[in-house]
């Protein structure tokens, strides 16, 4: 499926270089000549948007580190110093803080798209699992990044999340002390989180390379879920996908800019503008919005270890989706029942997110339990059974047929088609 490069350099210097390291040819075959299904919709632009967000986070992060000090007595002040003293520091910090949220918005849409169109199914299992690894790394990176400003939410978020590991029998307390580098979250914790927060994005970038590589080996899925069968089913990456991705990115950046310039603190917590105090916990502590569904699951289980395992299980189950879904049909467009269950599941995820932001009491906990059970039932019961009982709709013979209709898709090339080419 990898695009055959037609790249032949004319320039003698480039020819010399290309015969020693075919770099330009690789770029050409991957991002210019690479055949993409002709029917990709805008949900497919989020891969490019995510790459853009990764670059955005790395660039703004590298700049923030130039002004930030990872020490318990200086961290909070150095962040305020960035906001007040550093030229354009407020903008760069808000880019980084809101960029994290935008990154997660994009990754959730990207994952929902994969689940809707069955992009995880053979032969794309490794591609899907690499994506799950990227998601895990993103969660770890975002968590450690949130600790760095050393506000109240930073400190107590770090305390709660690291304490999750204390739930494991026997080794739990030792793991936690080793995570902390002490007997509580303190300066050694801040220092190591800072180090890892700088390291992990580059690991993400490495896994992204593998993710894109795997994608280019098996080729992109598409809204029909039918593999491209002929040249007619694909268009070259450039200009078609580049322009479409570019337009998607611009629209996404407008959305990003709206947060950045109008409501830069909307997704944050006011408590994090209070310096960390190891002696007083804020009255209502909640994680960042992108962890809320998992936080709701943690609180839904009345047992410490059970809650932690449920939370981690909610992510681990994603790794097994390629095998839990027994249906032969990829796209939900041809799976009338799955389509409905998919949207119910999306609603459940959003519901869990909402419950995660509410206090852990009364009806909220009961609702949290119901939705948590449904979340797992979707993967462990509904997905395997649907494949057995669902009667899928007729699948088109090819992408072209799905796009243009049966008759036109099958029509042979007429004389008129070649005319513009010969004239041009």
């Amino acid at each position: 499926m990898s695009g055959h490069s037609t790249f032949e350099p004319k320039n003698p210097a480039l020819k010399w270089f290309e015969s020693r390291l075919p770099l330009v040819g690789l770029i050409h075959s991957s991002f210019v000549a690479y055949p993409t299904p002709r029917n990709l919709n805008y949900w497919w632009t989020f891969g490019g948007i995510l790459s853009l967000m990764l670059v955005c986070q790395i660039v703004s992060g590298v700049v923030l580190v130039m002004h930030y000090t990872p020490h318990v007595t200086l961290a909070f002040d150095s962040v305020e110093h960035i906001m007040r003293d550093v030229s354009w520091g407020w903008l760069i910090r808000y880019i980084h803080a809101n960029g994290a949220s935008m990154f997660f918005i994009a990754v959730y849409i990207h994952m929902f798209r994969g689940l809707y169109y069955g992009s995880y199914k053979a032969p794309r299992e490794v591609l899907w699992i690499l994506g799950c690894i990227i998601y895990l790394l993103m969660m770890a990176t975002a968590f450690m990044g949130y600790v760095l400003p050393w506000g109240q939410m930073s400190f107590w978020g770090a305390t709660v999340i690291t304490n999750l590991f204390s739930a494991f029998p026997v080794v739990g307390p030792t793991i936690v002390e080793w995570l902390w580098g002490g007997f509580a979250v303190d300066n050694p914790t801040l220092n190591r989180f800072f180090s890892l927060h700088y390291l992990l994005p580059f690991m993400i970038a490495g896994v992204v390379v593998l993710h894109v590589w795997a994608l280019h080996v098996v080729g992109q899925n598409n809204p029909t879920g039918v593999e491209p069968k002929s040249e007619k089913d694909t268009v070259p990456f450039t200009p078609y996908a580049t322009i479409k991705d570019g337009f998607g990115m611009v629209c996404f950046l407008i959305f990003f800019a709206w947060f950045l310039f109008y409501i830069p603190n909307y997704l944050g917590h006011a408590d994090n503008y209070i310096p960390a105090n190891p002696l007083v916990t804020p009255a209502h502590i909640v994680p960042e919005w992108y962890y809320l569904p998992f936080y709701a699951m943690l609180r839904a289980v009345p047992d410490k270890l059970g809650g932690v395992l449920t939370m981690f299980g909610a992510i681990i189950v994603l790794f097994f989706v390629p095998w839990l879904d027994t249906s032969k049909v990829r796209s939900a467009a041809y799976r009338p029942l799955y389509k409905q269950f998919f949207w119910i599941w999306v609603a459940v995820c959003i519901g869990l997110g909402w419950l995660g932001s509410k206090p852990a009491e009364g009806g909220y906990v009961i609702a949290g339990r119901i939705l948590t059970i449904y979340y797992f039932a979707h993967f462990l019961i509904i997905l395997p059974l649907l494949g057995l009982f669902e009667k899928p709709k007729a699948i088109p013979a090819s992408i072209t047929e799905a796009v243009l209709g049966k008759n036109k898709g099958a029509a042979p090339a007429s004389a008129g088609v070649s005319a513009p080419q010969t004239k041009g």
Partner: protein, 234 residues
């Protein structure tokens, strides 16, 4: 439909090639208007026009989009470059006051101004006499290098020492060797001033370079007397 899709492909290919040509052609607003008019008439007309006219509506759109994107990218890059400049907290430290009443005759103290060492020396009459006896012609650098005087002032002792009645004993210089930035050691070397441990440059009792490789006299920072016993540097 398929015919149209292929046409679109060829059409775009042509437009891409023309994107580079259009930059060199005498592409003006009148042509753009004409192009847009043709665009209104439908796809077939555009295809025809790409083969005859020099530029099209699409060329205009490509150029306008590219230009807008370029401006946007430049605007975004600026904050990332601008953040490198000294920030407000650094600029706030740009002046330092020094109390001279505690500096005994012959004593040399070092104070910090903008992160750099500044030497303040209460020179003895002997130091001053030696400095005054030195002819300009024997100096390696005949220019005063005094930020409080014109650029072409000569490196006489008067132009190097502090200005004003009874201030001539004070010498205030930035304690950074003009060679490669080391801090010279006081009361050392053949000329009774400073000796740089890095590459052996020597300075006299007016902070003037007397032996290389340093090319210039020790620089004198902008400063003024707040009172007879206090100066403000910067």
């Amino acid at each position: 439909m398929q015919l149209e899709a292929l046409e679109g492909r060829v059409d775009r290919g042509l437009a891409f090639a023309r994107l580079f040509r259009a930059g060199r052609s005498n592409f003006g607003p009148t042509q753009a208007c004409r192009g847009s008019g043709q665009g209104m008439r439908g796809k077939e007309t555009i295809v025809a026009s790409t083969e005859t006219a020099g530029t099209t509506r699409r060329d205009f759109l490509y150029l306008a989009t590219g230009a807008m994107g370029g401006i946007g990218a430049a605007a975004l890059v600026w904050p990332f470059v601008s953040q490198l400049q000294p920030d407000a907290s650094v600029l706030a430290l740009s002046s330092t006051e020094v109390d001279l009443s505690q500096v005994a005759e012959g004593q040399m103290i070092t104070v910090k101004w903008r992160g750099k060492p500044v030497f303040v020396w209460n020179r003895t009459p002997d130091d001053i006499a030696k400095s005054k006896a030195t002819e300009i012609s024997v100096l390696l650098d005949p220019v005063a290098r005094n930020a409080n005087l014109p650029l072409d002032a000569l490196a006489t002792d008067e132009n190097r020492a502090a200005e004003g009645e009874g201030h001539e004993k004070w010498l205030v210089v930035i304690g950074i060797c003009t060679h490669l930035g080391c801090v010279p050691i006081g009361h050392m070397g053949e000329y009774d001033g400073w000796f740089c441990p890095c590459h052996g440059s020597e300075y006299d009792s007016a902070g003037r370079v007397r032996r290389g490789p340093a090319p210039e006299n020790l620089a004198i920072p902008p400063y003024h007397f707040v009172s007879d016993t206090k100066i403000s540097i910067g």
